[in-house]
């Protein structure tokens, strides 16, 4: 039975799945990477990160690859990669739509905000 998708991702979820694009990671590495990547704009609370990781594991986006002491490392699965691509495409479409609206507004004579 196919596992349930999480639907549209929140920003925290998207950045978390994005953090796995470069390879397997553990929880603390993910938080640090996201903070660095966004210049501190996005900071994941530990409860939020843990919930996201649990959900991703549950729906099969992630798989645990190693446990060293209390450090658990995860990697993206094919489903996870696909979910990331889908979300990325949706966001790209949003940007394209936003650009189209801006062009449309210029044509109509209204300056975009």
């Amino acid at each position: 039975m196919p596992r349930k998708s999480l639907g549209v991702m929140t920003e925290s979820m998207f950045y978390t799945i994005m953090a796995f694009q470069a390879g397997p990671r553990c929880g603390t590495e993910i938080s640090a990477l996201i903070e660095e990547l966004t210049g501190g704009r996005i900071q994941l609370g530990p409860g939020t990160l843990y919930t996201i990781l649990s959900k991703f594991l549950e729906v099969g986006y992630l798989r645990e690859v190693s446990v060293e002491g209390r450090k658990r490392t995860y990697r993206l699965t094919e489903d996870g990669r696909q979910a990331y691509k889908t979300e990325l495409a949706r966001l790209n479409q949003c940007i394209l739509d936003a650009s189209a609206v801006a062009t449309f507004a210029l044509r109509e004579g209204d300056a975009p905000n």
Binding site: S12, M13, G45, P46, G47, T48, Y50, T51, I52, S54
Partner: protein, 399 residues
């Protein structure tokens, strides 16, 4: 050390967080591993601005788990690295606290927190449905096997029956309230609104304590009543030997069935006794278990057992319900052995005759507020005294 009952239920995340934060501000820090039997224990400390946060357990957490229902090591470590210390578990929520004001919030994305609440809510709905299904199946099974709440209320008193029904219903109702509360919480978080960590918890405090206390009292009362019922059963409480019975019986017995020398045949208080009681729905109840032989002048012997259950109900309506339920229960117990018998009218409100699960002839007679069930088995060569005759004597004896 200070012990306190929480002022709100475990699923009231905002209320619990606010209460614990206020306690810390007064110099009472929640003790590690607190909430033993639902009571919170605090240790004295310097009043401080401490943040408490609740996290929904991702899997069912219980004291019987290998780790005592604590969160996984990874979660504890991850949170500790960010300044959040795991303190205790209350119900299906883990309680963390941060004593440093500058540490990052435990939950930074309300919509993700909504997912955690959703997981918990689904689990609670599953548990509720399972419990309710079992409750319904068990009730139906008991009903199918001939158990009757009305008869139980008449025999054991309405209090124990009411509580037996009320307590599971109350628990189911509490479960529904919890699911609804979680739904509201989830909705709020899904809309991106963070939880209110400073919610006023005093408002519903008295109501919560009142409900909790009432529930504990009702459960305690139920336990006492069940124990008393069980004790009565094994100690033959209330039963007395028929020979010692001083009361006036309002119905005929075997000595009225035939003229002759009466001889009791079975002297065992478990099977040959008389018991009298009353309660809120019964003015008088009598259980008469008689085993005897009547040696008639013509040399014949009427020998057997007469089991009578007599109810003088508080109302005609109750008598009707008792008669109906008695017959239903007897039919349910007898199943294919149930055999309706022809019964004369006797001029009563109701008269039914049948053979029960043991194939013994029985009658149920109702007149006004009186209901009488009698089973008369004869152990002679056959059923010397026909049903119409002994049932007629019983019917005539009803005042």
């Amino acid at each position: 050390m200070l012990w306190r009952l929480p002022p709100c239920p475990a699923y009231d995340v905002e209320g619990t967080e606010s209460w614990l934060t206020d306690m810390a501000a007064q110099g009472w820090m929640l003790e590690k591993g607190s909430f033993l039997l639902g009571v919170a224990s605090f240790e004295k400390a310097k009043p401080a601005a401490v943040r408490y946060r609740l996290e929904a357990a991702p899997k069912h957490a219980s004291d019987w788990d290998d780790n005592g229902g604590s969160p996984g090591f990874e979660a504890v470590e991850m949170n500790a690295d960010s300044g959040w210390e795991f303190v205790a578990r209350r119900g299906q929520f883990y309680i963390y606290r941060s004593e440093t004001g500058n540490s990052l919030e435990l939950h930074t994305d309300p919509q993700v927190q909504a997912l955690a609440i959703k997981t918990l809510q689904r689990r609670q709905i599953g548990n509720l449905c399972t419990t309710m299904s079992w409750g319904i199946i068990h009730s139906l099974l008991y009903f199918w096997k001939g158990f009757s709440l009305v008869l139980a209320a008449a025999d054991e008193g309405p209090s124990i029956v009411l509580l037996t029904v009320l307590i599971p219903l109350w628990m189911a109702g509490s479960g529904i309230v919890q699911v609804v509360h979680l739904q509201k919480l989830k909705k709020k978080l899904k809309e991106g609104i963070p939880l209110d960590h400073r919610k006023g918890w005093r408002k519903g405090q008295s109501r919560f304590y009142g409900i909790r206390l009432l529930r504990i009292l009702l459960i305690a009362l139920w336990v006492v009543l069940v124990f008393h019922m069980w004790d009565k059963d094994i100690t033959n409480f209330g039963k007395q030997e028929r020979a010692d019975y001083q009361g006036a019986l309002p119905f005929a017995t075997m000595s009225d069935f035939a003229e002759g020398v009466y001889e009791p045949t079975w002297r065992d208080l478990r099977y040959d006794y008389v018991m009298e009681w009353n309660n809120a729905i019964l003015n008088r109840g009598i259980r008469w278990y008689e085993h005897a032989a009547v040696h008639c002048p013509d040399g014949s012997v009427l020998q057997g057992g007469l089991h009578v259950v007599y109810y003088d109900a508080a109302s005609g309506w109750m008598a009707k319900a008792l008669a109906f339920e008695y017959l239903r229960a007897e039919r349910a117990r007898a199943r294919e052995n149930y055999e309706p018998l022809k019964c004369p009218d006797f001029g009563l409100d109701e008269a039914v005759a049948y053979r029960n699960e043991f194939h013994f002839p029985c009658v149920i007679l109702r007149k006004g507020n009186i209901v009488l069930h009698a089973m008369f088995f004869q152990t002679g060569s056959g059923e010397e005294l026909p049903l119409a005759e002994w049932a007629g004597i019983l019917a005539a004896s009803l005042a």
